[in-house]
C-alpha cells in the first residue's frame, strides 16, 4: 500500500492534487481512499490531504508515522506535518515560502534557515523549484501539479494514466498542467537513484 500525505496552504490546489492522485491510482487498478478539507479550514489556513492506495484500503486517514510520501507545497507546512512520514519515507517539498498573517503582523517569525531544518528533519528529501517550473509551464497556479510530477517518479502509475487524468479533471487548462507535470517529473527523475 502507498500512503501519500499532501500539505500546503489553502488556495494552493491541494484538493485538486489529491483528486488527481486518487483518480490516477484508481485507473491504475488500485483500491483507493483519499480525504480533503473543506469550509473554514480552507481560507488561507494550513491544509492537509491524504491519499492511500493499494490492494485494499480501510481508513481514509493515514496513521501518524506511516506515510510513504509527504508532499509539501510550502516549506513550513511540510515541517508541520512531518510526523506523518514513516521510516524510509520520502519528503518531496516545494521551495516555496508563504508567510502566514501571524508572521506578517509581527506576532510570530517565519523560521530562518528553513531549508536546513528540512534537511535535518527528512533523511530522504527532494526539493522542487515549483514556482519556477509552474511559471515555465505557463501557469503560476500549477505548482501543485509540478509536485505531483515529482511524486510520480516514485509511484507505480503509468505516465499515460497521469496524462489521461489531467486531461479529464483539468479540462480548461490541460496543456499547462501537462507541461507542469512533466517539468516536475523531469526535474526530479534522478532523485530516486
Amino acid at each position: 500500500m502507498s500512503d501519500v500525505v499532501l500539505a500546503g496552504v489553502g488556495g494552493q490546489g491541494i484538493v485538486l492534487a489529491s483528486k488527481l492522485l486518487a483518480e490516477a491510482a484508481f485507473r491504475a487498478g488500485y483500491d483507493v481512499k483519499a480525504n480533503e478539507v473543506h469550509g473554514m479550514a480552507q481560507r488561507g489556513g494550513s491544509v492537509l490531504a491524504q491519499v492511500r492506495f493499494g490492494e485494499k484500503v480501510f481508513s481514509p486517514l493515514v496513521p501518524s508515522g506511516r506515510a510513504d510520501f509527504l508532499v509539501g507545497l510550502e516549506e513550513v507546512e511540510a515541517l508541520r506535518y512531518a510526523g506523518y512520514l514513516g521510516d524510509g519515507g520520502w519528503a518531496i517539498v516545494n521551495r516555496r515560502k508563504i508567510v502566514p498573517v501571524t508572521v506578517s503582523s509581527g506576532s510570530f517569525r517565519y523560521p530562518e534557515d528553513i531549508e536546513g531544518r528540512l534537511r535535518a528533519r527528512f533523511e530522504r528529501l527532494v526539493l522542487v523549484e515549483g514556482e519556477r517550473l509552474a511559471r515555465e509551464a505557463g501557469n503560476a497556479r500549477t505548482e501543485n501539479v509540478v509536485l505531483l510530477g515529482a511524486l510520480s517518479n516514485f509511484l507505480d502509475i503509468p505516465l499515460g494514466i497521469w496524462e489521461e487524468v489531467i486531461a479529464h479533471l483539468v479540462p480548461r487548462s490541460t496543456e499547462a498542467n501537462l507541461k507542469a507535470f512533466s517539468l516536475g517529473r523531469d526535474a526530479t527523475v534522478e532523485a530516486r537513484l
Partner: protein
Amino acid sequence: MRKVLSGNEAIARGAYEAGVAVAAGYPGTPSTEILENLAGYGEVYCEWAPNEKVALEVAAGACWTGVRAMATMKHVGLNVAADPLMTLSYTGVRGGLVVVVADDPGMYSSQNEQDSRNYAKFAKVPLLEPSDGQEAKDFVEVALDISERFDTPVVLRSTTRLSHSRSVVALGGRRSPQVPSFSKDPQKLVMLPLYARGRRRKVEERMRALREFSERFPHNRIIWRERKLGVVTSGVCYQYVEEAFPEASVLKLAMTYPLPEGLIRSFAEQVEEVLVVEELDPFLEEQVRSLGVRAEGRRYFSGIGELGPDGVIRGRMRWEGRDPPEPRQEADLPPRPPVMCPGCPHRGIFYVLSRMDVVITGDIGCYTLAVFPPLNAMDTLICMGAGISASMGMAKAGLKKPVVGVVGDSTFFHSGMTGLLDVAYNRGDVTIIVLDNGTTAMTGHQDHPGTGRTLMGEETVEARAEDIARALGVRRVRVVDPYDLSRTEAVLKEEVASPEASVVVSRRPCLLLTREYGPRYEVSAEACTGCGRCLRLGCPALEKDGAKVRINSLCTGCGLCAQVCRFGAIAREEG
C-alpha cells in the same frame, strides 16, 4: 461502472438511483456537496431552503404525496429541523423520507461537535451509519426502503471524514419516481392531540418491529477472526478498527438505532472481551451495557474530537496498559489559522468596528474570522441568527456600551429575520449589520433567497435585506459599500449613536465569486514610516518587510490599505 466518489457525491448518487423526486437542504460543511451533486443530475427537484427546518418540512410534504424525498444538513442544522423531525416520527411517511445529517467530529468547520445519533433515539426513528462511499450510496436506498416499510423517517448519519473522503463506488441505474397523489388521512397526518395520541402508540409498535428487523438486517454483520477480543463499531470508525485491531472479531453495525440486541448478546457471548469503538458520545456503549453486556469504550477511546486511526491506535495502547507516546511536533512553527481573503468585503466593516468602543455579537460565516487578531472584532458566537438576538439581550440588560450585531446575508435569511422582528417589535436599541456578500461564501458559494438564482439554476426573485428590515418595522435602514471606509465609518457612527434600532446593509459581492480584481497597490518605501496601521487590517497581502510594509502578489486591489494609510504611502501600481 465504478467511480471514485466523495461520500457526499455517493449519497447524492444514492438518492438519484433510489428515485428520490424532491430533495431540500441548507448548505453546511460537511454536508453541502450532497445537494449540489444531486442537482447536477438534473432529474431530481433540489432546493436550497432558507433553513433546515424549512428543508425538512418541504421533504415531508413531498413524501406525503407518495414520492421519495430527502433532506440534507449538517449536525447543527438538525437542531433547527428538530421540531418537524420529532412529530414526523408520529405522522410517518408515504413515499420514503431520509434525513441526511453530517456530523463534524473535531469541529473542522463547526461551532460544536454534537453527536446527532442521539436525535434518532430522541425522535424514535431508525438510524443508519455508512462506513465508506459504497455504503453511503447504497444506504440511501436502504433507508428509503425501511422508511416506506415501517412508515417512518430514517436518519442517515455521515461525518466529515466520510462526507469528504473519496473511495471507489459501484454505480447503478435510476429507479423511476412515483407519480404524486394525495388522499386524506387526518388521523395519520394531522397531529392534533386526539390523533397524535393514536400515532404515539404506533411509534412504539414500529420500534418493536424495527428491533426485530434489525436482528436480521443484513448490513449489521460480524467479521469473525480471533475470539479473544470482539469490537463493536459503526460508521467510519469501522475502518480505523480494521487497521488498529486486525486480529479482532468485529461486529460492524450499520443500523445503530434501534440496536439488534440478540445479535449483540450472541456476539459478546462468543468473545472473551468486548470493546466499543465510536467517536463523540458513548451512544453504542451505553446501549450495549444496558443489555448487561460487559463492554469498555470511552475508558480507552477519547470522546473528544475525531478519533481517526491514531485515536484508535492510542486507545488500543491504553487498553493494553501502555502509555501512548506524545505526538512529536516540530518546534517554533508559526501558526497558520484561516484568514479573511485578500479583498474580502467583510474586512472594511470589521476594521471600522475594531476602532469603535462597541460590543459585537457575531454569527456564523466567513466573517467569524474577524475574531482573530489583528481585528479582534467579535465578542460572542453561538449559532445561526444569534448575532441579532444576542445583541437584543445585551441591550435590554441595560448595558451602557452600544451593541452591534453582525449577520451574513444567507444567515439573515436562515434565522436572522425572526430575531430582527424581535428587535423591531420589542424596540431594541441595537445596530444590526447585514454583511451582504451576495452568496453563502463559507460553504463554497451556494445561492440563497437573495441571489436571484435557485439551486436548479433558474432565475427567481431577489430578497433584499433592507426591504425585509423595513417590512419588519425597522425605521432606520442604510446601505453602505464596505470598500468605502470613510462613509462606512460615518454611517456606523451615526447608527450606533441613534437611540433606536437600525440596520446597516454592507453590500459588496464576495471577491472569490466575482473574481473582479482591480490593479494592485504598492507601498512607496520613501513615504512608508512603518507605523503598522495598515497591518491592523489583517490582510494577507500586506507583509512586514524590515521596518516597512510591502504588498505581495495576493493583492486584489481593494484599496483599503491606501485608505487607512496616513502618509499617502500606498497607491495603485503604475502601468
